[in-house]
Amino acid sequence: MQRGLGLTQLTLDIAEHNAVPLEDRPVERPRSGHRHLVRNGLVWAAAVLVAAYAASVVATNPAMRWDSIGKFLTAPIILSGLVTTLLITFLSAVIGLAGGLVIALMRMSSNPLIKTIAVGYLGLFRAVPLLVQILIWYNLGTFFPELGFGIPFTDIGLYGDTNVLLSPLVACLIAIGLNQAAYMGEIIRGGLLSVQPGQVEAAIALGMTRAKAFRRVIAPQAAKSIIPPLGNDMINLLKATSLVSVVGVGDLMTRAQGIYASNYQVIPLLIVASIWYLALTIVFTFVQGLLERRFAAGVAR
């Protein structure tokens, strides 16, 4: 009986509830986030715990030698390595950007021969590991003792000793720059393809020459989509420069290795290098953000 009554009551409730039109029924609005707060708090607590434990393990490890990390972080030899790293990064970025633009334009050419050359370049330079490419350029002297310009099949021309022309630094710049050109070429091509053809046509119809339309319309619009992947690529490039330590160019990594080879403080010196790479990456990311905002104009807000 009791049970029966309850059931009737429930049926009545449902009937009454259904009588209210859907648009007039109350809804549950997300409350000011009590549950979120608790959940976020738990995540933070767990993260802090793990971080504190990791830090204590590292910090209390007697092999850690905090004093030498502090000492080497700003040691002149490490700083000169840092400058070399930045120099290689900057110069190969310039080579890469210029070469990449050429490769991108060649790849978009309507001439099948030019296009094929670009595709071949991309295939080759993206397939061979950068480390191998650096070693090839570095050792080129064993293969071609002399390099230079001249008329083929004659002795007329300007030649020099390969090992003099291709100092380790130059060999690395060529290797990394040409490798970068392949990657940047694809990034730039993607950016150029993202510009709507109508925008270019509007510029041409206005009376701009192709060159001016490229500078005033295509380039700034392509930049918007090029910058995020380019920033990514620059960070990869920065870290890839550490590969030049195999030929001893004197970059940050070479210097760190040189020091730990004599004092055996391997991990502390690798941490010194890591701190600098981390700092540079933070700067790069910051610059990328600035550029993104600079070129964001006109995006639907």
């Binding site: 041409i204 119809a205 206005l206 009376g207 005033r216 319309v217 006109g298």
Partner: protein
Amino acid sequence: MNFSPPELRAAADAPALIRVRNVTKRYGANRVLDGVNLDVRQGEVRCIIGPSGSGKSTLLRCLNALTDFDSGAIVLDETRVGYTERNGVLKPWTGREAAAFRSRVGLVSQHVNLFSHRTVLENVIEGPVQVLGASRVSAVRSATDLLSRVGLADKHDSYPSQLSGGQQQRAAIARALAMNPRVMLFDEATSALDPELVGEVLGVMQALASDGMTMVVVTHEMRFAEEAGDRIAVMDAGRIIEDGPASEVFARPRQPRTAEFLKDHFRFAPAEGRRSHA
């Protein structure tokens, strides 16, 4: 509104400002323009109508040297389109010469192509500053004037994405006018717009027309062609099949093909009844 200086307005018997003579163009085996002849007088509103794919856009793009053609000749403002005379011989244009020519002809197309990374004002001064070498100050002054004439005085600093379709199209007209063109070409300038936005753009075009600007207008807006158009050319399959004063073409089409096309575009009523609808 006063868009063009009075010396541009000319009598109806003035020599044609644009002369298209037997122009042909193919895309592969497709004869897109098949011996087109057309005259446009100074100050005239010349409408071109016709079914989709009949070659209207292609003809307009030839007038602006955006597309080259296979044979025939176009003369615009005493310039032979595509060629410059050097030592008594007509030589093909360099890229620079083609660009200089295009700066004298305004084009407004169906798909509004305002530069998306620049504000409305920057769009309008881009041509005068970058192409004509005007100073920024004077370009801004005339752009301000033009923008208030097309009803966009309060939109200088908006980006195109922040404007309605009709506002974008009016800004595009202002951008073209800023170049002080001899001729304005319109390619279905309203056909991508919502119906309630068509009127504001046609209004600007009408004001421009009554101001004496020479205009070639490809349109599907028969009311506009009828009311603002001086002469109408009807295109079909790459040819101009009928050409005459607007009133005549609409009231008494001579070609069956024209009558059929007009019937499709005035679905409501025959010519007489139409006027009372308007």
